[in-house]
């Protein structure tokens, strides 16, 4: 019998069945996240199912992040409904301003190695960076978890992505993730898990891995898993909410595809409107005028992302005239870090608009909305037409450093050429 992938090991453990790729199993989830974008519908499904008490409130958590702060009376009412349900059931709730649910799942030590953590939001794949099988579900699936604590899952085949070497200066994990999107395409990993491996993994710290795992859903992946190592355990020191056991792929595990990415050979990349897999080098896209720059989201809203962007902007002498720079930390912890270390003051001095920690402008549900025919460059994960709330805007996706270079020049520019 062949060995098992990380996905096969975790889903076997959580279902109590010796499962292989292709099997459908019923799993007990360790934790489920509901956001204000998905939970209100889940409450309707739960009521329609005849639900009264949730199965295990300790394994659930809500985040008010998509409408933060509520931009309308209707969304404020959704928040009130979630707060009341959470209080009645004893479910933990992160209120407006605490940050993006995915970031909080990671910071609060709920996404743990070897775990199965689902989120009623597609970017739950982010937890794979911690060797946790994180995957996105809908509102009805969340309601079923309220009812039973369980979910059915098809055990995915896995694509192994071998990372080798070390990212060069000026090149970031976002560039590596866009290269993977270019190679796989927007549906290249549909129904499958991506498993990162190779000596390049050890060169990436946890925040780097979160970027890569987060973007795997843009290739259709069900999960984007890293092995756990000392960097994982260091991050979880003092955060982990309970004991955990990491899942390791067997040497003779079976993969449906193997891809090699040499980190040394990468250059800054940008996804062109309106598809994440329309990837071009920053060098070739240079000169494209930019009027709005967005730094934030569950992809690019962590402290190090802002540090990288601030350093480029400082080296370049600030934000170009005519560019709106919007800064939205992924969480209160990130905001506090930036406030403490002076980064926030730097951005304010450069004229940035500072948003409430949360999903912000990413999907047009709150935050700044671009004007007609505006070109936006963003650290986010999606650039679909209309994504930020205006169908006539064009969205480019790049690393924090490349976004900062564009803010400094008023046009797409290579961050490696700033300050030289």
């Amino acid at each position: 019998m062949p060995g098992k992938t990380i996905s096969e090991k975790i889903l076997s453990a959580k279902s109590g069945v010796d499962a292989c790729a292709g099997d459908v199993v019923i799993c007990h989830v360790d934790c489920a996240l509901g956001t204000d974008g998905s939970t209100p519908m889940a409450l309707d499904y739960f009521a329609a199912m005849g639900g009264e008490r949730v199965d295990d409130a300790r394994r659930m958590v809500f985040a008010l992040d998509h409408y933060a702060p509520a931009p309308s009376r209707a969304t404020a009412a959704l928040h009130q409904r979630m707060r009341e349900f959470a209080a009645r059931q004893g479910i933990a709730l992160w209120d407006v301003g605490e940050g993006i649910g995915h970031q909080l799942m990671v910071e609060s030590g709920r996404a743990l190695p070897g775990g199965l953590v689902v989120g009623a939001d597609s970017h739950a794949v982010t937890y794979g960076a911690l060797n946790c099988f994180g995957t996105g579900i809908g509102s009805s699936d969340l309601a079923a978890i309220f009812m039973s604590g369980e979910i059915w899952l098809r055990v995915p085949e896995s694509i192994r992505v071998n990372l080798t070497g070390h990212l060069p200066a000026g090149v970031y994990p976002k560039d590596a993730a866009l290269e993977l999107a270019r190679q796989l395409g927007a549906d290249g990993a549909t129904y499958q898990a991506i498993e990162f491996a190779g000596d390049g993994v050890a060169t990436l710290d946890l925040e780097d891995r979160l970027v890569l795992s987060n973007l795997t859903v843009e290739m259709g992946a069900k999960a984007g898993l890293f092995p756990a190592d000392s960097r994982t355990f260091d991050y979880l020191e003092g955060r982990a909410r309970g004991p955990f056991e990491a899942a390791t792929a067997d040497r003779d595990a079976s993969y449906c595809r193997e891809i090699a990415i040499a980190l040394d050979g990468l250059t800054p990349a940008v996804a062109l409107p309106h598809q994440v897999d329309r990837v071009e080098t920053v060098e070739r896209a240079a000169g494209t005028p930019i009027q709005m720059v967005y730094l934030g989201t569950c992809t690019g809203g962590r402290a190090r992302d802002f540090h990288q962007a601030r350093d480029v902007l400082r080296a370049a002498g600030g934000v170009a005239p005519g560019v709106q720079l919007v800064v939205t930390p992924a969480s209160r912890e990130v905001l506090e870090t930036l406030a403490r270390d002076g980064t926030l003051a730097d951005f304010i001095a450069m004229g940035a608009v500072i948003g409430t920690p949360g999903c912000g402008s990413c999907c047009g549900t709150c935050g700044a909305i671009p004007g007609d025919d505006v070109n936006v460059i963003s650290t986010a994960n999606r650039n679909f037409q209309g994504r930020m709330g205006n169908g006539s805007a064009s969205i480019y996706l790049a690393s924090p450093a490349s976004c900062a270079a564009a803010a400094a020049r008023g046009a797409i520019a290579d961050p490696r050429e700033i300050g030289r």
């Binding site: 459908v24 005849g50 999907c363």
Partner: protein
């Protein structure tokens, strides 16, 4: 619950139709009512769709239908438009789950020879194109999905069984 097979009219889309194109994220801020949301179906990519959609229409798409956000309104708004099945060469996994859970039939088949307006009959396992005479097999659905669709969706399934049945997995 829909009786299958049923006859309908093909409404054709291309590849990589993401959920924000089906229904923009911002629309769910004001209402989650499918009868409200149906007015905005495909507004970014096909401005006339919402006005022309008729009960029984069948969405016919290329690969990766429903990619992007896992928002379930992208399924309920489609059902609100009177659409009961989506045929595609492939689905994103979250759209596929949400469709099954709401009783919207997601069928994987080779859709390349179906044209806008073709008359189709649709059921799990088989699609007939009455306009061209072609019959197409669809990929089989796993037992648990057939169980959920057969029950009329996940709400009806849970009302009936109370939890997932191990035997159906």
């Amino acid at each position: 619950m829909t009786a299958f097979p049923f006859e309908g009219r093909a409404r054709v889309f291309g590849d990589d139709i993401n959920t924000d194109y089906i229904i923009a994220s911002r629309r769910k801020r004001e209402s989650l009512d499918p009868q409200v949301l149906r007015q905005y179906l495909f507004e970014e990519i096909d401005a006339g769709f919402a006005r022309s959609v008729q009960p029984g229409d069948v969405i016919v798409a290329g690969s990766n239908f429903g990619c992007g956000s896992a928002m379930e309104v992208a399924v309920t708004a489609v059902l609100g438009g009177g659409i009961r099945a989506v045929l595609a060469r492939g689905f994103s996994r979250t759209y596929y789950r949400n469709a099954v859970n709401n009783g919207l039939l997601p069928l994987v088949c080779d859709t390349r020879r179906i044209a806008e307006g073709d008359r189709l009959t649709v059921e799990a396992g088989l699609v007939r194109n009455l306009s061209t005479g072609e019959a197409m097999a669809t990929e089989p659905l796993p037992a648990i999905m057939l169980d959920i669709i057969g029950a009329g969706g996940l709400v009806a399934y849970f009302r009936k069984y109370g939890r997932f049945r191990v035997g159906s997995a």
